[in-house]
Protein backbone atom coordinates (compact mmCIF):
# COMPACT_ATOMS: atom_id res chain seq x y z
CA UNK A 1 0.00 0.00 0.00
CA UNK A 2 2.85 2.40 0.85
CA UNK A 3 4.25 1.85 -2.61
CA UNK A 4 1.04 3.32 -4.04
CA UNK A 5 0.70 6.21 -1.60
CA UNK A 6 4.36 7.21 -1.91
CA UNK A 7 4.07 7.42 -5.67
CA UNK A 8 0.80 9.27 -6.10
CA UNK A 9 2.57 11.96 -8.11
CA UNK A 10 3.97 9.39 -10.52
CA UNK A 11 0.49 7.91 -10.89
CA UNK A 12 -0.92 11.35 -11.59
CA UNK A 13 1.62 11.98 -14.34
CA UNK A 14 0.78 8.65 -15.96
CA UNK A 15 -2.93 9.30 -15.62
CA UNK A 16 -2.63 12.73 -17.23
CA UNK A 17 -0.55 11.30 -20.09
CA UNK A 18 -3.13 8.58 -20.73
CA UNK A 19 -5.85 11.23 -20.67
CA UNK A 20 -3.98 13.52 -23.08
CA UNK A 21 -3.24 10.61 -25.40
CA UNK A 22 -6.87 9.48 -25.36
CA UNK A 23 -8.49 12.89 -25.78
CA UNK A 24 -6.17 14.00 -28.59
CA UNK A 25 -6.49 10.71 -30.48
CA UNK A 26 -10.28 10.56 -29.95
CA UNK A 27 -10.84 14.00 -31.41
CA UNK A 28 -8.60 13.36 -34.42
CA UNK A 29 -10.01 9.87 -35.00
CA UNK A 30 -13.60 11.11 -34.70
CA UNK A 31 -12.97 13.75 -37.37
CA UNK A 32 -11.22 11.20 -39.58
CA UNK A 33 -13.91 8.59 -38.98
CA UNK A 34 -16.74 10.98 -39.85
CA UNK A 35 -14.97 11.94 -43.09
CA UNK A 36 -14.45 8.25 -43.88
CA UNK A 37 -18.14 7.54 -43.20
CA UNK A 38 -19.14 10.41 -45.51
CA UNK A 39 -16.83 8.96 -48.16
CA UNK A 40 -18.39 5.53 -47.74
CA UNK A 41 -21.94 6.79 -48.39
CA UNK A 42 -21.02 9.34 -51.08
CA UNK A 43 -22.13 9.10 -54.71
CA UNK A 44 -18.51 9.01 -55.90
CA UNK A 45 -17.43 5.38 -56.49
CA UNK A 46 -13.71 6.09 -56.03
CA UNK A 47 -14.34 7.69 -52.63
CA UNK A 48 -16.56 4.78 -51.58
CA UNK A 49 -13.92 2.27 -52.61
CA UNK A 50 -11.12 4.21 -50.91
CA UNK A 51 -13.09 4.46 -47.66
CA UNK A 52 -14.06 0.79 -47.70
CA UNK A 53 -10.48 -0.33 -48.43
CA UNK A 54 -9.10 1.76 -45.59
CA UNK A 55 -11.60 0.37 -43.08
CA UNK A 56 -11.11 -3.22 -44.23
CA UNK A 57 -7.31 -3.00 -44.02
CA UNK A 58 -7.21 -1.33 -40.62
CA UNK A 59 -9.92 -3.51 -39.11
CA UNK A 60 -7.96 -6.65 -39.83
CA UNK A 61 -4.59 -5.33 -38.63
CA UNK A 62 -3.63 -5.52 -34.95
CA UNK A 63 -3.06 -2.13 -33.34
CA UNK A 64 0.39 -3.34 -32.33
CA UNK A 65 1.29 -3.78 -36.00
CA UNK A 66 0.03 -0.26 -36.74
CA UNK A 67 2.31 0.97 -33.94
CA UNK A 68 5.20 -0.94 -35.50
CA UNK A 69 4.68 0.77 -38.83
CA UNK A 70 4.40 4.21 -37.29
CA UNK A 71 7.29 3.85 -34.86
CA UNK A 72 9.75 1.93 -37.04
CA UNK A 73 8.80 2.85 -40.62
CA UNK A 74 8.01 6.58 -40.40
CA UNK A 75 11.59 7.33 -39.24
CA UNK A 76 12.73 5.62 -42.45
CA UNK A 77 10.83 8.38 -44.28
CA UNK A 78 12.81 10.94 -42.25
CA UNK A 79 9.70 11.68 -40.18
CA UNK A 80 11.13 11.94 -36.68
CA UNK A 81 8.67 12.83 -33.94
CA UNK A 82 8.50 12.31 -30.19
CA UNK A 83 7.05 8.95 -29.10
CA UNK A 84 3.92 10.68 -27.84
CA UNK A 85 3.17 12.04 -31.32
CA UNK A 86 3.83 8.62 -32.87
CA UNK A 87 1.37 7.09 -30.42
CA UNK A 88 -1.28 9.69 -31.28
CA UNK A 89 -0.79 8.95 -34.99
CA UNK A 90 -1.07 5.17 -34.49
CA UNK A 91 -4.15 5.43 -32.26
CA UNK A 92 -5.81 7.88 -34.68
CA UNK A 93 -5.12 5.80 -37.78
CA UNK A 94 -6.47 2.67 -36.10
CA UNK A 95 -9.57 4.06 -34.39
CA UNK A 96 -10.71 6.25 -37.30
CA UNK A 97 -11.86 3.01 -38.96
CA UNK A 98 -14.01 2.09 -35.95
CA UNK A 99 -15.42 5.59 -35.51
CA UNK A 100 -16.31 5.40 -39.22
CA UNK A 101 -18.21 2.14 -38.72
CA UNK A 102 -20.06 3.53 -35.70
CA UNK A 103 -21.08 6.70 -37.57
CA UNK A 104 -22.07 4.70 -40.63
CA UNK A 105 -24.30 2.41 -38.59
CA UNK A 106 -25.91 5.59 -37.22
CA UNK A 107 -26.45 6.92 -40.75
CA UNK A 108 -28.03 3.60 -41.68
CA UNK A 109 -30.33 3.80 -38.65
CA UNK A 110 -31.92 7.08 -39.82
CA UNK A 111 -35.26 6.38 -41.48
CA UNK A 112 -35.26 6.06 -45.27
CA UNK A 113 -38.03 8.66 -45.43
CA UNK A 114 -35.72 11.33 -44.02
CA UNK A 115 -33.24 11.04 -46.86
CA UNK A 116 -36.02 10.73 -49.43
CA UNK A 117 -37.72 13.84 -48.09
CA UNK A 118 -34.41 15.72 -48.11
CA UNK A 119 -33.83 14.78 -51.73
CA UNK A 120 -37.37 15.55 -52.80
CA UNK A 121 -37.09 19.16 -51.57
CA UNK A 122 -33.98 19.43 -53.72
CA UNK A 123 -31.15 19.16 -51.24
CA UNK A 124 -27.86 17.92 -52.69
CA UNK A 125 -25.98 14.97 -51.22
CA UNK A 126 -23.79 17.19 -49.07
CA UNK A 127 -26.76 19.21 -47.85
CA UNK A 128 -28.95 16.24 -47.00
CA UNK A 129 -26.06 14.56 -45.18
CA UNK A 130 -25.08 17.71 -43.28
CA UNK A 131 -28.52 19.18 -42.55
CA UNK A 132 -30.80 16.16 -42.30
CA UNK A 133 -29.11 12.81 -41.84
CA UNK A 134 -25.98 13.41 -39.73
CA UNK A 135 -27.70 15.52 -37.02
CA UNK A 136 -30.13 12.65 -36.48
CA UNK A 137 -27.46 10.01 -36.88
CA UNK A 138 -25.21 11.55 -34.23
CA UNK A 139 -27.96 11.27 -31.62
CA UNK A 140 -28.37 7.52 -31.99
CA UNK A 141 -24.66 7.11 -32.49
CA UNK A 142 -23.45 8.79 -29.31
CA UNK A 143 -23.52 5.59 -27.17
CA UNK A 144 -21.51 3.54 -29.72
CA UNK A 145 -19.12 6.48 -30.12
CA UNK A 146 -18.56 6.61 -26.36
CA UNK A 147 -17.88 2.88 -26.45
CA UNK A 148 -15.24 3.37 -29.14
CA UNK A 149 -13.67 6.10 -27.00
CA UNK A 150 -13.58 3.63 -24.09
CA UNK A 151 -11.88 1.10 -26.37
CA UNK A 152 -9.41 3.82 -27.36
CA UNK A 153 -8.62 4.64 -23.72
CA UNK A 154 -7.92 0.96 -23.08
CA UNK A 155 -5.92 0.59 -26.29
CA UNK A 156 -3.78 3.62 -25.41
CA UNK A 157 -2.06 1.24 -22.97
CA UNK A 158 -0.25 -0.30 -25.95
CA UNK A 159 1.71 2.97 -26.25
CA UNK A 160 3.48 1.78 -23.09
CA UNK A 161 5.39 -0.72 -25.22
CA UNK A 162 6.50 2.07 -27.58
CA UNK A 163 8.19 4.55 -25.29
CA UNK A 164 5.27 6.58 -23.94
CA UNK A 165 5.19 6.71 -20.15
CA UNK A 166 1.42 6.59 -19.59
CA UNK A 167 -0.49 4.67 -16.95
CA UNK A 168 0.52 1.13 -17.91
CA UNK A 169 4.18 2.05 -18.36
CA UNK A 170 4.08 3.85 -15.02
CA UNK A 171 2.65 0.66 -13.52
CA UNK A 172 5.36 -1.63 -14.86
CA UNK A 173 8.08 0.82 -13.80
CA UNK A 174 6.70 1.09 -10.28
CA UNK A 175 6.21 -2.69 -10.17
CA UNK A 176 9.84 -3.22 -11.09
CA UNK A 177 10.98 -0.68 -8.50
CA UNK A 178 8.78 -2.12 -5.73
CA UNK A 179 9.21 -5.87 -6.07
CA UNK A 180 7.42 -6.46 -2.76
CA UNK A 181 4.25 -4.57 -3.72
CA UNK A 182 3.65 -5.57 -7.35
CA UNK A 183 0.00 -6.41 -6.82
CA UNK A 184 -0.85 -3.19 -4.95
CA UNK A 185 0.93 -1.12 -7.60
CA UNK A 186 -0.89 -2.76 -10.50
CA UNK A 187 -4.26 -2.66 -8.75
CA UNK A 188 -3.65 1.08 -8.40
CA UNK A 189 -3.19 1.32 -12.17
CA UNK A 190 -6.31 -0.77 -12.76
CA UNK A 191 -8.34 1.56 -10.54
CA UNK A 192 -7.10 4.55 -12.57
CA UNK A 193 -8.36 2.93 -15.78
CA UNK A 194 -11.69 1.93 -14.21
CA UNK A 195 -12.20 5.54 -13.05
CA UNK A 196 -12.13 6.48 -16.74
CA UNK A 197 -13.90 3.52 -18.37
CA UNK A 198 -16.70 2.52 -15.97
CA UNK A 199 -18.50 5.91 -15.72
CA UNK A 200 -18.22 6.35 -19.50
CA UNK A 201 -19.72 2.89 -19.98
CA UNK A 202 -22.63 3.68 -17.66
CA UNK A 203 -23.19 6.99 -19.44
CA UNK A 204 -23.26 5.18 -22.78
CA UNK A 205 -25.74 2.63 -21.43
CA UNK A 206 -28.07 5.30 -20.06
CA UNK A 207 -27.99 7.34 -23.27
CA UNK A 208 -28.62 4.18 -25.25
CA UNK A 209 -31.78 3.45 -23.26
CA UNK A 210 -32.90 7.08 -23.64
CA UNK A 211 -32.45 6.98 -27.39
CA UNK A 212 -34.18 3.59 -27.58
CA UNK A 213 -37.23 5.08 -25.84
CA UNK A 214 -37.20 8.22 -27.98
CA UNK A 215 -37.45 6.24 -31.21
Amino acid sequence: MDAVLDNLDTYREGFVTTLELSVLSSVLALVGGTLLAAMRVSPVPTLRAAGATYVELVRNTPLTVVFFFVVFVLPQLDILLPYFAFAVIALTVYHAAFFCEAVRSGINAVGVGQAEAARSIGLTFGQSLRLVVLPQAFRTVIPPLINVVIALIKNSSIAAAFGVVELTATGTRLANANGDAVIAVLVGVAVCYLVLTLPSGWLAGRLERRVAVAR
Partner: protein, 281 residues
Protein backbone atom coordinates in the same frame (compact mmCIF):
# COMPACT_ATOMS: atom_id res chain seq x y z
CA UNK B 1 -31.32 2.65 -44.88
CA UNK B 2 -29.48 1.69 -47.99
CA UNK B 3 -26.92 4.30 -48.85
CA UNK B 4 -28.16 4.84 -52.40
CA UNK B 5 -31.15 6.71 -50.92
CA UNK B 6 -28.92 9.64 -50.09
CA UNK B 7 -28.48 10.90 -53.63
CA UNK B 8 -30.26 10.96 -56.99
CA UNK B 9 -29.08 9.00 -59.96
CA UNK B 10 -26.23 11.08 -61.31
CA UNK B 11 -26.79 12.90 -64.60
CA UNK B 12 -24.24 13.54 -67.38
CA UNK B 13 -22.89 16.73 -65.78
CA UNK B 14 -22.60 15.05 -62.39
CA UNK B 15 -20.84 12.09 -63.93
CA UNK B 16 -18.31 14.39 -65.53
CA UNK B 17 -17.74 16.18 -62.23
CA UNK B 18 -17.31 12.83 -60.43
CA UNK B 19 -14.83 11.68 -63.06
CA UNK B 20 -12.79 14.88 -62.79
CA UNK B 21 -12.97 14.76 -59.00
CA UNK B 22 -11.88 11.12 -58.97
CA UNK B 23 -8.95 11.84 -61.26
CA UNK B 24 -7.91 14.77 -59.05
CA UNK B 25 -8.25 12.59 -55.95
CA UNK B 26 -6.24 9.75 -57.43
CA UNK B 27 -3.56 12.22 -58.53
CA UNK B 28 -3.47 13.69 -55.03
CA UNK B 29 -3.06 10.28 -53.38
CA UNK B 30 -0.54 9.30 -56.05
CA UNK B 31 1.48 12.44 -55.27
CA UNK B 32 1.64 11.61 -51.54
CA UNK B 33 2.47 7.97 -52.24
CA UNK B 34 4.97 9.13 -54.87
CA UNK B 35 6.82 11.34 -52.37
CA UNK B 36 6.91 8.50 -49.85
CA UNK B 37 8.10 6.02 -52.47
CA UNK B 38 10.74 8.47 -53.73
CA UNK B 39 12.06 8.96 -50.22
CA UNK B 40 12.12 5.24 -49.57
CA UNK B 41 13.75 4.59 -52.93
CA UNK B 42 16.40 7.20 -52.17
CA UNK B 43 17.22 5.15 -49.08
CA UNK B 44 17.27 1.98 -51.11
CA UNK B 45 14.18 0.48 -49.50
CA UNK B 46 13.07 -0.97 -52.82
CA UNK B 47 16.35 -2.66 -53.42
CA UNK B 48 15.27 -6.11 -54.67
CA UNK B 49 17.94 -7.57 -52.43
CA UNK B 50 16.01 -6.28 -49.38
CA UNK B 51 12.77 -7.89 -50.44
CA UNK B 52 14.45 -11.09 -51.50
CA UNK B 53 14.93 -11.78 -47.81
CA UNK B 54 11.28 -12.88 -47.76
CA UNK B 55 12.08 -15.78 -50.08
CA UNK B 56 14.68 -17.12 -47.70
CA UNK B 57 13.78 -20.35 -45.96
CA UNK B 58 14.92 -19.24 -42.52
CA UNK B 59 12.80 -16.08 -42.58
CA UNK B 60 9.79 -17.97 -43.90
CA UNK B 61 10.17 -20.61 -41.20
CA UNK B 62 10.40 -17.91 -38.54
CA UNK B 63 7.23 -16.24 -39.80
CA UNK B 64 5.50 -19.61 -40.17
CA UNK B 65 6.39 -20.62 -36.62
CA UNK B 66 5.14 -17.23 -35.43
CA UNK B 67 1.82 -17.74 -37.21
CA UNK B 68 1.42 -21.19 -35.65
CA UNK B 69 2.15 -19.76 -32.18
CA UNK B 70 -0.34 -16.95 -32.79
CA UNK B 71 -3.06 -19.35 -33.91
CA UNK B 72 -2.35 -21.70 -31.00
CA UNK B 73 -2.77 -18.94 -28.43
CA UNK B 74 -5.88 -17.66 -30.22
CA UNK B 75 -7.59 -21.06 -30.43
CA UNK B 76 -6.87 -22.03 -26.81
CA UNK B 77 -7.97 -18.61 -25.58
CA UNK B 78 -11.12 -18.71 -27.73
CA UNK B 79 -12.21 -22.09 -26.36
CA UNK B 80 -11.57 -21.00 -22.76
CA UNK B 81 -13.21 -17.61 -23.30
CA UNK B 82 -16.33 -19.27 -24.69
CA UNK B 83 -16.57 -21.49 -21.61
CA UNK B 84 -16.14 -18.46 -19.32
CA UNK B 85 -18.59 -16.49 -21.45
CA UNK B 86 -21.23 -19.23 -21.21
CA UNK B 87 -20.94 -19.28 -17.41
CA UNK B 88 -21.16 -15.47 -17.25
CA UNK B 89 -24.17 -15.31 -19.58
CA UNK B 90 -26.08 -17.92 -17.57
CA UNK B 91 -25.03 -16.10 -14.41
CA UNK B 92 -26.27 -12.73 -15.62
CA UNK B 93 -29.58 -14.26 -16.71
CA UNK B 94 -30.00 -16.02 -13.36
CA UNK B 95 -33.07 -15.23 -11.30
CA UNK B 96 -30.99 -15.14 -8.13
CA UNK B 97 -30.20 -11.48 -7.83
CA UNK B 98 -26.82 -11.92 -6.17
CA UNK B 99 -25.63 -14.31 -8.90
CA UNK B 100 -26.76 -11.92 -11.62
CA UNK B 101 -25.12 -8.99 -9.89
CA UNK B 102 -21.87 -10.87 -9.30
CA UNK B 103 -21.65 -11.93 -12.96
CA UNK B 104 -22.52 -8.38 -14.01
CA UNK B 105 -19.78 -6.90 -11.85
CA UNK B 106 -17.26 -9.42 -13.24
CA UNK B 107 -18.17 -8.46 -16.81
CA UNK B 108 -17.96 -4.72 -16.08
CA UNK B 109 -14.61 -5.12 -14.34
CA UNK B 110 -12.85 -7.12 -17.01
CA UNK B 111 -14.34 -5.22 -19.91
CA UNK B 112 -13.26 -1.95 -18.34
CA UNK B 113 -9.57 -2.85 -18.06
CA UNK B 114 -7.02 -2.73 -20.87
CA UNK B 115 -6.12 -6.23 -22.05
CA UNK B 116 -2.43 -5.34 -21.90
CA UNK B 117 -2.77 -4.47 -18.21
CA UNK B 118 -4.47 -7.82 -17.52
CA UNK B 119 -1.66 -9.67 -19.28
CA UNK B 120 1.03 -7.70 -17.45
CA UNK B 121 -0.80 -8.27 -14.18
CA UNK B 122 -0.77 -12.03 -14.66
CA UNK B 123 2.81 -11.93 -15.86
CA UNK B 124 4.20 -9.73 -13.05
CA UNK B 125 1.88 -10.26 -10.09
CA UNK B 126 1.51 -14.04 -10.08
CA UNK B 127 5.27 -14.69 -9.74
CA UNK B 128 5.25 -12.13 -6.90
CA UNK B 129 2.93 -14.43 -4.92
CA UNK B 130 4.98 -17.50 -5.85
CA UNK B 131 2.99 -18.84 -8.80
CA UNK B 132 5.11 -19.34 -11.89
CA UNK B 133 3.33 -18.78 -15.18
CA UNK B 134 4.72 -19.17 -18.69
CA UNK B 135 4.38 -16.34 -21.19
CA UNK B 136 1.98 -18.50 -23.20
CA UNK B 137 -0.41 -18.96 -20.28
CA UNK B 138 -0.09 -15.35 -19.15
CA UNK B 139 -1.18 -14.32 -22.63
CA UNK B 140 -3.93 -16.94 -22.92
CA UNK B 141 -5.28 -16.24 -19.43
CA UNK B 142 -5.35 -12.50 -20.10
CA UNK B 143 -7.15 -13.04 -23.40
CA UNK B 144 -9.59 -15.40 -21.68
CA UNK B 145 -10.44 -12.97 -18.87
CA UNK B 146 -11.05 -10.10 -21.26
CA UNK B 147 -12.79 -11.94 -24.09
CA UNK B 148 -14.78 -14.15 -21.70
CA UNK B 149 -16.53 -10.99 -20.50
CA UNK B 150 -17.16 -9.75 -24.05
CA UNK B 151 -18.34 -13.15 -25.30
CA UNK B 152 -20.61 -13.50 -22.25
CA UNK B 153 -22.34 -10.33 -23.38
CA UNK B 154 -22.66 -11.69 -26.93
CA UNK B 155 -24.24 -14.91 -25.58
CA UNK B 156 -26.60 -12.92 -23.41
CA UNK B 157 -27.60 -10.65 -26.30
CA UNK B 158 -28.24 -13.73 -28.43
CA UNK B 159 -30.54 -15.28 -25.83
CA UNK B 160 -32.34 -12.01 -25.12
CA UNK B 161 -32.89 -11.46 -28.85
CA UNK B 162 -35.22 -14.47 -29.00
CA UNK B 163 -38.96 -13.77 -28.80
CA UNK B 164 -40.38 -14.09 -25.27
CA UNK B 165 -42.93 -16.61 -26.55
CA UNK B 166 -40.15 -19.21 -26.83
CA UNK B 167 -39.55 -19.16 -23.07
CA UNK B 168 -43.25 -18.99 -22.29
CA UNK B 169 -44.04 -21.94 -24.56
CA UNK B 170 -41.25 -23.96 -22.94
CA UNK B 171 -42.61 -23.21 -19.46
CA UNK B 172 -46.14 -24.03 -20.68
CA UNK B 173 -45.11 -27.55 -21.67
CA UNK B 174 -43.55 -27.97 -18.23
CA UNK B 175 -39.81 -27.52 -18.85
CA UNK B 176 -37.72 -26.27 -15.99
CA UNK B 177 -35.62 -23.14 -16.36
CA UNK B 178 -32.40 -25.05 -17.00
CA UNK B 179 -34.10 -27.23 -19.57
CA UNK B 180 -35.62 -24.21 -21.29
CA UNK B 181 -32.19 -22.66 -21.59
CA UNK B 182 -30.50 -25.85 -22.77
CA UNK B 183 -33.15 -27.27 -25.09
CA UNK B 184 -34.98 -24.24 -26.43
CA UNK B 185 -33.03 -21.00 -26.09
CA UNK B 186 -29.35 -21.87 -26.59
CA UNK B 187 -29.78 -23.87 -29.84
CA UNK B 188 -31.64 -20.97 -31.42
CA UNK B 189 -29.41 -18.28 -29.96
CA UNK B 190 -26.23 -19.94 -31.25
CA UNK B 191 -27.22 -19.25 -34.85
CA UNK B 192 -27.93 -15.62 -34.13
CA UNK B 193 -24.67 -14.99 -32.33
CA UNK B 194 -22.33 -16.97 -34.56
CA UNK B 195 -21.41 -13.99 -36.78
CA UNK B 196 -20.62 -11.79 -33.75
CA UNK B 197 -18.68 -14.65 -32.20
CA UNK B 198 -16.48 -15.07 -35.27
CA UNK B 199 -15.89 -11.35 -35.44
CA UNK B 200 -14.80 -11.50 -31.79
CA UNK B 201 -12.40 -14.28 -32.78
CA UNK B 202 -10.84 -11.86 -35.25
CA UNK B 203 -10.40 -9.33 -32.44
CA UNK B 204 -8.90 -12.01 -30.22
CA UNK B 205 -6.51 -13.07 -32.95
CA UNK B 206 -5.40 -9.46 -33.39
CA UNK B 207 -4.91 -9.14 -29.64
CA UNK B 208 -2.54 -12.11 -29.47
CA UNK B 209 0.00 -9.63 -30.88
CA UNK B 210 0.16 -8.20 -27.34
CA UNK B 211 2.15 -11.32 -26.50
CA UNK B 212 4.93 -9.34 -28.15
CA UNK B 213 5.14 -7.15 -25.05
CA UNK B 214 5.81 -10.04 -22.63
CA UNK B 215 8.06 -11.86 -25.08
CA UNK B 216 5.82 -14.66 -26.33
CA UNK B 217 7.30 -15.72 -29.67
CA UNK B 218 4.25 -15.09 -31.86
CA UNK B 219 4.05 -13.64 -35.38
CA UNK B 220 4.95 -10.06 -34.51
CA UNK B 221 7.70 -10.94 -32.04
CA UNK B 222 9.29 -13.24 -34.60
CA UNK B 223 9.14 -10.44 -37.16
CA UNK B 224 10.92 -8.16 -34.71
CA UNK B 225 13.48 -10.87 -34.03
CA UNK B 226 14.14 -11.16 -37.75
CA UNK B 227 14.59 -7.40 -38.08
CA UNK B 228 16.88 -7.24 -35.06
CA UNK B 229 18.98 -10.04 -36.53
CA UNK B 230 19.07 -8.73 -40.10
CA UNK B 231 19.22 -5.00 -39.32
CA UNK B 232 16.82 -2.05 -39.40
CA UNK B 233 17.00 -1.77 -43.21
CA UNK B 234 14.87 -4.87 -43.41
CA UNK B 235 12.06 -3.47 -41.25
CA UNK B 236 9.83 -2.47 -44.17
CA UNK B 237 9.82 -5.81 -46.04
CA UNK B 238 9.47 -7.89 -42.85
CA UNK B 239 6.74 -5.80 -41.21
CA UNK B 240 4.86 -5.59 -44.50
CA UNK B 241 4.94 -9.38 -44.73
CA UNK B 242 3.70 -9.68 -41.12
CA UNK B 243 0.86 -7.21 -41.76
CA UNK B 244 -0.13 -9.10 -44.92
CA UNK B 245 -0.28 -12.40 -42.99
CA UNK B 246 -2.52 -10.83 -40.30
CA UNK B 247 -4.76 -9.18 -42.87
CA UNK B 248 -5.15 -12.34 -44.97
CA UNK B 249 -6.05 -14.52 -41.96
CA UNK B 250 -8.37 -11.96 -40.37
CA UNK B 251 -10.01 -10.85 -43.60
CA UNK B 252 -10.91 -14.47 -44.43
CA UNK B 253 -12.48 -14.85 -40.98
CA UNK B 254 -14.32 -11.52 -41.41
CA UNK B 255 -15.63 -12.66 -44.78
CA UNK B 256 -16.85 -15.89 -43.21
CA UNK B 257 -18.59 -13.91 -40.46
CA UNK B 258 -20.29 -11.63 -42.99
CA UNK B 259 -21.41 -14.53 -45.16
CA UNK B 260 -22.84 -16.31 -42.12
CA UNK B 261 -24.52 -13.08 -41.02
CA UNK B 262 -26.27 -12.65 -44.38
CA UNK B 263 -27.33 -16.29 -44.47
CA UNK B 264 -28.61 -16.33 -40.88
CA UNK B 265 -30.47 -13.07 -41.44
CA UNK B 266 -32.19 -14.50 -44.48
CA UNK B 267 -33.25 -17.67 -42.71
CA UNK B 268 -33.79 -16.66 -39.10
CA UNK B 269 -34.46 -12.95 -39.35
CA UNK B 270 -32.08 -11.46 -36.83
CA UNK B 271 -28.51 -11.68 -35.64
CA UNK B 272 -26.42 -10.18 -32.86
CA UNK B 273 -24.37 -7.41 -34.42
CA UNK B 274 -20.80 -7.01 -33.28
CA UNK B 275 -20.24 -3.47 -32.02
CA UNK B 276 -17.49 -1.30 -33.49
CA UNK B 277 -16.12 -0.83 -29.97
CA UNK B 278 -15.74 -4.56 -29.33
CA UNK B 279 -13.96 -4.93 -32.65
CA UNK B 280 -11.59 -2.11 -31.79
CA UNK B 281 -10.40 -3.39 -28.42
Amino acid sequence: MSEAVLYDAVGPRGRRRILLGSIAGVLGVAAVVGVAVARLAAKGSFDPELWRVLTEGAVQRLIGRGLVATLRAAVVAMVLAMAVGAVLAVGRLSRRAWVARLAGAWVELFRGLPLLLLILFLFLALPAVGITISVFWALVAGLTLYNGAVIGEIFRAGILSLPRGQTEAAYAIGLRRGQTLRLILVPQAVRRMLPALISQLVTLLKDTSLGFVIGYAELLRNGRTAVEFLGGRYSIPIYTAIAVVYIVVNASLSLLARWLDRRTRRRFGQTVRPSAADEAA
